[in-house]
């Protein structure tokens, strides 16, 4: 047994930390948050040059073929740095969907461009309020044309390509849609976390190409969401760790009543609880990346479990980080709110806690029945 990252992964982490310290300081996040751009294009280019975008894409498609351990290490560091880039959409959702369901020619067409960052893609699933659910897909697909409204679409204003879940004669299918084509209207949406792009996309008879077998789309959606949940759990654990470090550092330096506030048990125990939540989430994420790397049968349970603890831990860490900072923590100028916003966004983006908790139990039931 060896329940730790490999030495290669550890080297990659150090490299990622160095790169992001330089290329993704808080002011880069604020630039996107304050609307100066929908994402940090320079950072994205840098990440492409480092080979990160194709970390888990096989070398046959111009990826680095480093595997999922590497992808998760990167996600954790991007989470820690709050990187304002379409990493999840393009790399964890769209590329995974193409890998899972695409024809050989589709893979050859798109994966190299995604790996090189020449193309940004996204995954258009939601149609307004609700958790991922096959019956909630109403967008229509017929005769190579797609019509309907998807919102929110993560990174929907910056992506050029979307994998869209739609309903056709045989059920739910996936389609590849060029977002720059005619028949498409994109509207940027106000969001709790403006450092990540969200859009509403109206499709009116827009050209669409089937991805995978007709009527089998939902299986791919579930597979892609489970896998993205694990990678996102690392992003969340990275963010939670950063928020805990911020709070801990502040509690050591800030004095009240003539002593560091970190010497008061109210602060101490609050941060101990955040530490506990974060470590449990980290351990569940470790199990997730093992399941992902091994493509194990336990993957759905591992994914749901990792996501449930990571979403809770990240939110808890960020809201208590504000609380430990007191008044200044509530100001725009301190970075506390950047983490808090991101925590809530990530906890919703792939479906709510309720949805994933339900999935945990569904998987436990299957197991115990067997």
């Amino acid at each position: 047994m060896n329940f730790d990252f490999s030495d290669d992964s550890k080297l990659l982490r150090e490299q990622a930390q160095r790169f992001l310290r330089e290329n993704c300081p808080p002011k880069a996040v604020r630039a996107v948050l304050e609307g100066k751009a929908p994402h940090d294009a320079a950072l994205w280019r840098g990440m492409a040059e480092m080979g990160w975008l194709g970390a888990a894409i096989p070398e046959a498609y111009d990826g680095a073929g480093l595997g999922y351990e590497a992808l998760c290490v990167l996600a954790e560091e991007l989470g820690r740095a709050l990187a304002p880039v379409p990493f999840t959409s393009s790399v964890c959702l769209a590329a995974e969907a193409i890998l899972a369901a695409g024809s050989e020619s589709q893979k050859r067409e798109y994966l190299p461009k995604l790996a090189r960052g020449e193309l940004i893609a996204t995954f258009a699933l939601a149609e307004g309020a609700g958790d991922p659910r096959e019956a909630s897909v109403h967008t229509r697909l017929a005769d190579g044309r797609i019509s309907g409204t998807k919102w929110p679409v993560p990174d929907g204003t910056i992506a050029q390509l979307a994998v869209v879940a739609a309903r056709d004669a045989s059920g739910v299918s996936l389609a590849l849609v060029d977002l720059t084509a005619l028949g498409i209207t994109r509207t940027a949406l106000a969001s709790v976390d403006p450092s990540r792009d969200q859009a509403k996309i109206d499709f009116v008879n827009a050209p669409a190409v089937l991805l995978g077998e007709a009527g089998q789309g939902w299986n791919t959606v579930r597979r892609v969401l489970d896998r993205a949940a694990i990678v996102t759990a690392f992003e969340q654990v990275g963010g939670a760790t950063a928020a805990l470090e911020m709070a801990t550092a502040y509690a050591k330096e800030r004095f009240a009543f003539g002593r560091p506030i970190g010497s008061f048990q109210a602060i101490k125990h609050k941060l101990a609880d955040v530490y506990v939540a974060t470590e449990l989430a980290r351990s569940n994420a470790y199990y997730g990346v093992w399941a992902l790397s091994a493509d194990a049968a336990e993957l759905p349970l591992a994914a749901a479990t990792a996501r449930v603890s990571a979403s809770d831990a990240f939110f808890q860490a960020t809201k208590e980080n504000i609380q430990v900072h007191g008044g200044v923590g509530y100001t725009w100028d301190y970075d506390c709110h950047l983490y808090y916003r991101r925590a809530k966004l990530l906890a919703l983006a792939l479906g709510s806690q309720r949805h994933w908790k339900n999935r945990v139990v569904a998987e436990l039931e299957t197991r115990n029945a067997a």
Partner: protein, 410 residues
């Protein structure tokens, strides 16, 4: 135990309702939710105009003595007025700090001619007051403030910085707490003043909150000169003055923060989970029931407090319960409401997000509620020490002169 008015109370309620019906619009659920945002000049003007009408009709200082322009009424009348006024659309009450905290402190410490000059204009909303206690060096630790006051002849020269001052940008006067002697124990070296906020040497800068709004200010003093006549209490007796002010902190008005329970129930009715109304989901019902129990518990606790107040008791430390419970509940309800929206929960467009994006707004304002006016932690200390009588924490700052106290790098 009963909820009925006495005949006198009923008569007052009728009078209050008649005034409100004639002068204001009744609220509906669809009334624009009050945003906890900037109070702009137009809103200040509306607030002043409403205040003067209230004052003319005798509803501005209900329990105040007639000599100060009040009605000389009972605490129960005050409660009835608040209950009734809450049903109408009224401008934000920007006079609460002045009339609830500053002026009562003036009445306790200022000279008769000063009271003649300042009390009535404050009551009528002609002059607005703010309170300048908190500093960057110690939000929770008010006694640790650093703003220096140095006596020069008949004047004091003030240098330093205050923070979290509500309404400083539209206030005419302010109650200021300073350190006049850093060489003695921290609570012993404080002196209080009232100041003209339009004086030279005062700069007010709004604080940009994480929610995007600016309800508070930083206030900088650079060689501000204050006549000794504006001192309140003896030099070095500022802590006692401050306690008077803070004791007058009013029973937090029943704020009706939105989203409230009704908003949550409506949201749960309008959404579906797995094809059934969310309100039918037992997990949703459980949470709603728990928050309803808290909300109802606070409502009836308020009735108990009001009953005590109506018998002439003064509000005590047990009132810390209101904000302590509400702030965390507000944050949890906001987060939960967003969860109900699933993948769309993060969207804040009021056209797309249900109930005017109130849940998302609240997620971003609630963290401030857990801090402003006493953090959760300070409120629990107050309950533990002043209600339950548990011993105080060990104090690092008890016996040392202020300028020898340890201080951190932040």
């Amino acid at each position: 135990m009963d909820f009925d008015d006495t005949p006198e109370e009923a008569a007052f309620r009728t009078e209050a309702r008649a005034f409100l019906e004639a002068n204001a619009t009744r609220k509906t659920r669809r009334s624009a939710a009050h945003r906890y945002g900037d109070t702009d000049a137009a809103e200040v003007a509306r607030a002043r105009s409403w205040q003067v009408r209230k004052a003319d009709a005798g509803f501005a200082g209900i329990t105040w003595q007639k000599e100060w322009g009040g009605r000389g009424g009972t605490p129960m009348q005050q409660i009835i007025w608040q209950q009734e006024e809450a049903n109408y659309e009224t401008p934000p009450n920007i006079f609460l700090i002045g009339l609830g905290m500053c002026i009562p402190t003036m009445i306790a410490y200022a000279k008769p001619d000063q009271l003649q000059r300042y009390v009535k204009p404050a009551l009528r909303g002609d002059e607005i007051w703010c309170q300048l206690f908190s500093e960057p060096s110690g939000g929770s630790d008010v006694g640790g403030l650093r703003t220096r006051a140095e006596k020069r002849g008949d004047e004091w020269v003030i240098n330093g910085q205050k923070i979290w001052t509500s309404g400083a940008h539209y206030s005419d006067y302010g109650l200021l707490l300073t350190r006049s002697d850093p060489n003695i124990q921290k609570h012993a070296g404080l002196t209080a003043f009232f100041i003209d906020m339009k004086s030279r040497g005062i700069e007010v800068r709004p604080i940009h909150q994480m929610s995007g709004a600016s309800n508070f200010n930083e206030v900088f003093f650079t060689d501000l000169r204050v006549p000794d006549a504006q001192r309140l209490g003896a030099p070095g007796a500022g802590w006692k003055v401050a306690i008077t002010t803070l004791m007058n902190e009013r029973l937090a008005a029943s704020e009706n923060r939105r989203p409230d329970m009704q908003d949550l129930i409506e949201l749960a009715r309008s959404l579906e989970i797995d094809g059934r109304p969310a309100i039918a989901d037992p997990a949703v019902r459980e949470r709603i029931a728990e928050w309803h129990a808290q909300t109802a518990g606070l409502t009836y606790t308020r009735f108990r407090v009001l009953t005590a107040l109506s018998r002439g008791q003064t509000p005590g430390p047990e009132n810390s319960i209101f904000k302590l419970v509400n702030a965390s509940k507000q944050q949890a309800v906001a987060s939960f409401g967003m969860d109900l929206l699933g993948m769309a929960g993060g969207v804040m467009d009021p056209d797309l997000a249900p109930v005017q994006a109130m849940f998302q707004d609240s997620l971003l304002s609630a963290p401030g509620m857990r801090i402003a006016g006493g953090t959760d932690e300070i409120l629990r200390n107050i309950i533990a020490e002043r209600v339950l009588g548990l011993p105080g924490d060990m104090r690092a700052d008890k016996d040392l002169p202020f300028n020898q106290l340890p201080s951190g790098s932040r």
